[in-house]
């Protein structure tokens, strides 16, 4: 079981956490919604909730709830630029199909 960050993503997360001034790390997860059934969650985390699994990658703590771990196992979080747009991108081997917009997916 592993969830990791690329170096670029980790750099960004550290920068944003420093800017926020507080927070333990990053919370990643999935929730059921959207046109293809599931959507990614990416939030600041102020600490572990009960049942969380905690990973560490590139010096950043990643908190994932037990249910989401199943869907996110093997995921690498990257930070990329596409034209003027930039942001985090989930590279999830479990992902079978995404909706046209790419904001939700099925496994």
């Amino acid at each position: 079981m592993a969830i990791s960050l690329t170096e670029t993503a980790a750099g960004r997360v550290k920068e944003y956490l420093a800017n926020r001034g507080s927070g333990e790390g990053l919370r990643l997860g999935v929730k059921t919604t959207g046109c293809s059934g599931m959507a990614y969650v990416i939030e600041f985390s102020d600490g572990a909730d009960e049942g969380d699994e905690v990973f560490e990658s590139q010096g950043v703590k990643i908190f994932v709830d037990a249910k989401s771990v199943v869907y996110l196992d093997g995921t690498e979080l990257d930070y990329t630029k596409e034209g003027l747009n930039e942001g985090f991108k989930f590279k999830n081997p479990n992902e079978k199909d995404t909706c046209g917009c790419g904001e939700s997916f099925t496994v």
Binding site: R12, V13, E15, Y16, N19, R20, L26, R27, K31, T33, G34, C35, A39, Y40, V41, I42, E43, F44, S45, D46, T80, E82, G83, L84, N85, E86, G87, F88, K89, F90, T98, C99, C101, G102, E103, S104, F105
Partner: protein
């Protein structure tokens, strides 16, 4: 797939429901757009990496989208009639006022029936609102490309001194660009928000904004989460460009150039001057070389000391304006808690040093002074679309000018003072002035001055069916309510009969272009004279009331007085009648007091008489 940003815990949105918000600094020379991503606010760049978008729009043909920004700016000299710059100066202004700016404007203004001026271009007649909308559209496109979706809402900044008409024009431009304008925010307030000053409880903040061509100083007061603009000041023709001019002149002097040089050479020289100025913030001295013509190439060195001596007089001018703004705000330099620097020219070390000396504290310079306003607007927009937990503070809107009504003697009674946050509701009780008065006119006015004639009339209505009573006995409650959109309604109710009358006014539309600004300025300049005028009117009204009441009493109960007593009362009465016409309020007051004294005995006898009448025919024990 979509690129994601980090949300606050629990604030994640569903796909396709992301709340994208941006802040826009719609500037005279340059505009910027900023957003908050993963909790961090920053301005957005175009494909070339430029954050600043020159506020220049060029119209080429009908049905062709205008060119905005750098590409348009390059044609300012070659195609001046179709290339509109500094359109912000025309927002919310009438043609008449724009012509007043002087003849240097190259544009063809069309006289129209409506108040909105139009500029003749290759693409037809364009209003300043449309030109601004073109700039906003360019920024909107940049933002949507950068954020990957449509914008939920925007916050646009405006100068603190913008009046309602100019604000309305800016809002309209936003709408025309297809933006959901959540709110307009004052530029100095946005700068203060960017520095997180809204998180402190209270304090006085000076925002010093020195751009390329304009200078603004604003004194703000933060009180319970509301920024009040206490005063503003500035110079619409003073900025970093003047620094360049001063350096260029120095170079010409050093090079011994006295004759006129070509426009091209001047432009070249100004570029060298500007580069030298910027370089001197990093380096102690800079070597210069300017080729004036084939036989004359000048080389020399400019150091910080020389630069400082050249620009000190200009900086001093801004400091004089700062001092005046502080005086207008009625605060001392020591009262200022924080000084915020805005505008590219505040990068200049000498400006920072001099400002630091004047305010006796180092100014805040951590955020890029070109971007700080847009960043503050973005932070506010982020809160307004709901990306922050609920406890994040919202900035509130305030009433720009006091609302009040006319009272006896052409005086204004302020009900809601300026800078009160809206929505608000305030009531005040009034009474009748004459015996048996059955109706009352409520005249609603807006402004800071003491006399009705110096304020703006917003409307009036009459309250009828007041039961006939002696003067001062009726109680009429006048309620002023301003809702969140600035809509004012005034209701007058007579307390015993509940007779009611009301009126609805939209103050924004009642005031024309520069009126708010002029009115505010007048209230400061005329403050002393106004108080004097008020004092006189108040004493005159009081004199009239006393004279009126006394004459009625004399008519009714004159027989209670000896001839001698009548005489002395009449002397005092005549005296008061005479001084009433004068302009010495103290003298009127003393005469009123004298008359009161002269009639004390009369009043006592009248009182006795009415008690006797009341008691007549009754047994004492009935009253036990």
């Amino acid at each position: 797939m979509a690129l994601l940003q980090i949300s606050e815990p629990g604030q994640s949105t569903k796909p396709h429901e992301r709340r994208l918000a941006v802040g826009i600094d719609l500037g005279t020379t340059n505009s910027l757009v900023a957003t908050v991503r993963s909790g961090q606010a920053d301005t957005l760049a175009d494909e070339q990496g430029n954050h600043l978008l020159p506020s220049v729009v060029r119209y080429t043909d009908v049905d062709v989208s205008p060119i905005v920004g750098q590409d348009a700016k390059q044609h300012a000299a070659s195609d001046p009639l179709n290339t509109i710059s500094s359109v912000k100066r025309f927002m919310g202004r009438a043609v008449k006022e724009i012509k007043h700016f002087g003849s240097q404007l190259p544009y063809d203004f069309v006289d129209t029936e409506t108040k909105v001026p139009r500029i003749k271009t290759a693409a037809g007649e364009k209003s300043p609102i449309e030109v601004s909308a073109a700039i906003l559209t360019a920024l909107k496109q940049r933002a949507e490309q950068s954020l990957g979706d449509e914008l939920t809402g925007v916050v646009i900044t405006v100068p603190a001194y913008f009046d309602d008409a100019q604000r309305q024009a800016t809002k309209d431009a936003g709408k025309l660009a297809g933006l959901n304008v959540l709110r307009l925010l004052n530029e100095p307030t946005a700068a203060a928000v960017a520095y997180g000053l809204d998180k402190s409880a209270e304090g006085i903040i000076a925002v010093y904004d020195l751009g390329g061509g304009t200078f603004d100083i604003s004194i703000l007061r933060l009180n319970k989460g509301v920024f009040e603009v206490m005063s503003t000041g500035g110079d619409t023709a003073l900025g970093g460009d003047d620094f360049d001019q001063a350096i260029a002149q120095w170079i010409m002097q050093q090079a011994g150039i006295t004759e006129n040089i070509s426009q091209n050479k001047i432009r070249h020289l100004l570029k060298i001057a500007c580069d030298a100025k910027e370089s001197l913030t990093e380096n102690e001295s800079v070597d210069l070389s300017v080729e004036f013509n084939d036989s004359n190439t000048w080389s020399g060195t400019i150091n910080r000391e020389i630069l400082n001596s050249l620009i000190d007089p200009l900086i001093q001018k801004t400091i004089v304006t700062c001092r005046r703004a502080l005086r207008d705000a009625q605060v001392n330099v020591e009262d200022v808690q924080t000084v915020v620097m805005v505008g590219g020219s505040t990068r200049n070390l000498r400006v920072r040093e001099k400002l630091g000396e004047f305010f006796a504290q180092p100014p805040m310079v951590d955020i890029d002074p070109d971007k700080v306003v847009a960043i503050g607007a973005a932070l506010q927009a982020d809160v307004l679309v709901g990306n922050k937990p609920d406890d994040e503070m919202l900035l509130l809107d305030v009433i720009p000018l006091s609302l009040g009504l006319e009272t006896m003697g052409n005086l204004v009674e302020k009900i809601i003072p300026r800078n009160t946050t809206i929505p608000v509701s305030r009531a005040q009780d009034f009474t009748t002035f004459k015996d048996g008065q059955t109706a009352m006119t409520v005249h609603v006015v807006q402004g800071e001055r003491e006399l009705v004639s110096d304020c703006r009339s917003l409307g009036q209505f009459a309250l009828h069916d007041i039961p006939a009573m002696v003067a001062g006995a009726a109680r009429i409650r006048v309620m002023f309510q301003v809702d969140a959109d600035g809509l004012l309604s005034v209701t007058a109710t007579e307390e015993t009969t509940h007779a009611e009358a009301s009126i609805q006014i939209k103050p924004s539309y009642g005031l024309t272009d520069t009126e708010i600004e002029t009115m505010l300025r007048d209230s400061i300049t005329h403050a002393k004279g106004d108080v004097e005028a008020r004092n006189i009117r108040e004493q005159q009204v009081e004199a009239d009331r006393v004279i009126d009441a006394l004459q009625i009493a004399l008519q009714k109960d004159g027989d209670l007085l000896e001839e001698q007593e009548v005489n002395s009362i009449e002397v005092a009465l005549l005296e008061l009648n005479k001084v009433r016409e004068g302009d010495d309020h103290r003298l009127i007051k003393t005469s009123i007091e004298k008359l009161n004294e002269a009639t004390t005995e009369f009043a006592a006898r009248r009182m006795n008489k009415s008690i006797k009448q009341a008691l007549a025919g009754h047994q004492v024990d009935e009253f036990e």
